[in-house]
């Protein structure tokens, strides 16, 4: 399976056409998403109701499809660990503070995990296979696996694959309290979304071939560069923050490494990498994606 048209919304300048490897800045608690002008992707009326995760999902997905050079895709698979957190918490709060009466359904409607892929289908007018995977930090991995199955089965030639998660101040507060209680050190919490166009054959926009996807461990193979959320490689979560969709940032940076080839700065240097491993390990789950430049 080939991957291309990487699109990413993150704390870094990843959405534009510049080489994101050259403008990396370490994430702090004050880091903010660098967001595109969403009006280029969604009508202002729809935009008003959308939470950050939905905006990132629809803009990220639509932009990736545009970059791929395709008019449409056969399928959409999206991974999200926590889905629509803002709307979920908003509706929950209303349930308790308004004592289960007179609630507006808007937040509930937008709280379902599949509203991200659903809104994307709606926006693209896409009637194809539409799937949402929720498996913590492996959500992107399962979305990729699903795309690989569709392509393998011949049910799709092109699949828009992505992962997206949002944070809110309240979520960060809850995670901080939770991590204290269970004695699990909380990393810097991030948010973001990344999309890719997966295809059965090499397109002009393809940058890499996914050689191997493991949803259980770290593939051991000779590679030129390891991007990981551990110190067992270049730790990309220093720049994305940790969140369930952060492997999307790692995969995006891998594709950008194939695209821009040579990078030398205070954080990292590499020269024409041919094979890259993206690795992620969090809360007892581990995955890795072995990529080869095309």
């Amino acid at each position: 399976m080939y991957l291309g048209a990487p699109t990413c919304i993150s704390f870094q300048d990843t959405f534009g056409n510049e080489n994101p490897w050259n403008s990396l800045e370490l994430v702090t608690a004050e880091s903010q998403l660098i967001q595109p002008n969403y009006k280029e992707y969604v009508s202002p009326a729809s935009l008003r109701r959308m939470s950050t995760v939905l905006k990132m999902g629809v803009a990220g997905g639509k932009s990736s499809l545009q970059h791929s050079g395709l008019e449409s895709c056969d399928a959409i698979t999206v991974g999200t660990g926590l889905g629509c957190v803002r709307d979920t918490l908003k509706f929950l709060k209303a349930v308790y503070t308004d004592q289960e009466s007179g609630l507006s359904p808007t937040a509930f409607i937008q709280s379902t995990h599949n509203s991200i892929a659903g809104q994307l289908a709606l926006l693209l007018g896409n009637h194809g296979y539409n799937m949402t995977h929720v498996q913590g930090a492996l959500s992107l991995g399962y979305a990729l696996s699903d795309a690989e199955l569709l392509i393998g089965e011949g049910d799709a030639k092109t699949v828009l694959v992505g992962a997206v998660d949002e944070k809110t101040d309240e979520l960060v507060e809850l995670l901080a309290k939770l991590s204290e209680t269970i004695n699990y050190p909380l990393p810097e919490v991030g948010e973001g979304g990344a999309f890719f166009l997966a295809s059965n054959e090499k397109l002009d926009s393809s940058l890499t071939k996914m050689v191997k996807l493991s949803l259980t461990d770290k593939v051991s193979d000779e590679v030129d560069l390891v991007l990981s959320n551990t110190d067992d490689g270049f730790n990309y979560t220093q720049f994305s923050g940790e969140h369930f969709a952060s492997p999307g940032f790692g995969l995006f940076m891998a594709l950008k490494a194939f695209e821009f080839e040579n990078v030398e700065n205070s954080h990292i240097s590499f020269n024409q990498p041919k094979r890259i491993l993206v690795h992620h390990k969090l809360l007892g789950q581990e995955m890795s994606i072995l990529l080869e430049k095309v």
Binding site: I76, G81, L82, G83, T88, F91, L92, V95, Y96, T97, Q99, E100, S101, L103, S104, P105, F108, I109, Q110, S111, T112, H113, N114, S115, A117, G118, Q119, A121, L122, G125, N126, H127, G128, Y129, N130, M131, T132, H133, V134, Q135, G136, L138, S139, Y142, S145, D146, L149, L150, G152, E153, L174, K177, L178, T181, I182, L215, T216, F244, G284, Q285
Partner: protein, 395 residues
């Protein structure tokens, strides 16, 4: 490769196992009534398809040690245990799990959110450790020793149908030798209030496909199937409940919650599933419809069925008036009913039906009836435009 179902497990408002579910279906006995376990003020005014076992009863039945577990997860483990035992398989590194849920551990999270939102009390924050959908699947996988592929699908009310299809695809692609597929959702305040705020809950028994239908009843359930290749199943002499022969997942791309009036997504899902199964619409012996009892779904699904089947519709029923709408689990519990229909050669009735929907030239199956059943088509549709169809066939 032909995909065989060699184990089935189910827990719903009409029974704690497959046999109890079957008995209730044959006796036309609904499980929808006053909720005794759900903590919501809507239990005073609304009816629910509540599973009769408490969390503690399920914990002791399962030998579940940890208290860090949601009802959604317990239901899942309960039904999965039956499916795995019945299939008689050993769990090894070639067995995967594709589960599905829409709310995950929300029922347990609410134990935190109530004191938190009413009194800013963080005491129960540890309960959020089982909140996310993926963690529910992970817990169940660990309970049964499943270490390979462990996925969680969340496409609202079509979730479990997609899990079944994904399992079939994993086998066909040689990624796994066996796979447990299905879905689970426990009742909670979040979904109760969500559907209530949408004003699509009937306060009486739901009336699927009846002109005077007034909404759905929420339910809870879990159901799982064990899938493996027919060749493997036959080689080990396993009982085959049926084959998974067709599936499709489409998007209506019409509205975030509502289905298109002409049922485009549903039409495409049924048509594509028939193509996948290499069947004609006339081959279908019974349709287990999504049939929630809402104005919108039943109208749209009726239109789509008419577009696919024309004037030669097979018997059709929705079993939601037995179980309530069990959200992510619906596709799995109805898969079990579809397989029972195949095995028993029975049609299951659509309860509470009174008048035909205007424009419908059919009425649903109203009685239990013997029939030769070779292929069953099961629909599951959800928010987000998600429409899925699965077809089960006699082995």
């Amino acid at each position: 490769m032909e995909i065989a179902v060699t184990g089935i497990g189910a827990i719903s408002a009409i029974g704690n196992n497959v046999n109890e579910n079957l008995s209730s279906l044959l006796a036309k006995r609904t499980g929808i009534g006053k909720a005794k376990l759900l903590n919501s003020k809507h239990t005073e005014t609304h009816l629910f398809g509540e599973v009769k076992l408490s969390d503690n009863e399920m914990k002791s039945g399962l030998g579940w040690k940890s208290d860090s577990v949601s009802r959604t997860t317990l239901l899942s483990a309960w039904a999965m245990k039956e499916a795995i035992e019945q299939a008689g398989i050993e769990i090894d590194e070639n067995v995967g799990l594709v589960s599905s849920t829409s709310v995950g551990g929300m029922d347990r999270s609410e134990g935190f959110f109530e004191p938190y939102y009413t009194e800013q009390d963080f005491t129960n924050v540890f309960m959020l450790g089982t909140h996310d959908c993926g963690s529910c699947t992970k817990q169940v996988a660990e309970h049964f020793g499943i270490t390979a592929y462990t996925a969680t699908i969340s496409t609202a009310c079509s979730s479990a149908a997609n899990a079944i299809a994904m399992g079939a695809r994993l086998l066909r692609q040689g990624k796994l030798k066996r796979v447990v597929v299905g879905g689970t959702d426990g009742l909670c305040r979040f979904t109760t209030n969500g559907f209530n705020s949408l004003m699509i809950l009937d306060t009486e028994w739901c009336k699927p496909f009846s002109a005077n239908r007034a909404g759905l009843n929420l339910g809870e359930a879990a159901a799982y199937l064990v899938l493996e290749s027919k060749e493997d199943a036959e080689a080990r002499g396993a009982e085959i409940h049926g084959l998974v022969t067709g599936w499709a997942n489409t998007n209506d791309a019409f509205h975030q919650t509502a289905s298109s009036p002409d049922g485009n997504g549903a039409f495409m899902a049924m048509t594509q599933a028939l193509e996948k199964a290499e069947l004609q619409s006339s081959d279908i012996s019974y349709i287990n419809a999504h049939g929630t009892g809402t104005q919108n779904n039943d109208q749209s699904e009726s239109m789509a069925i008419h577009r696919v089947f024309g004037e030669n519709k097979p018997p059709i029923s929705s079993t939601k008036a037995f179980t309530g709408h069990t959200l992510a689990a619906a596709g799995a519990i109805e898969a079990v009913y579809s397989l029972l229909a195949l095995k028993e050669n029975k049609l299951f009735p659509n309860l509470n039906y009174q008048y035909p929907i205007e424009g419908n030239d059919w009425q649903p199956q109203l009685e239990v009836e013997d029939a030769e059943i070779n292929h069953v088509l099961s629909n599951s549709f959800g928010f987000g435009g998600n429409n899925s169809t699965v077809i089960f066939s006699k082995a």
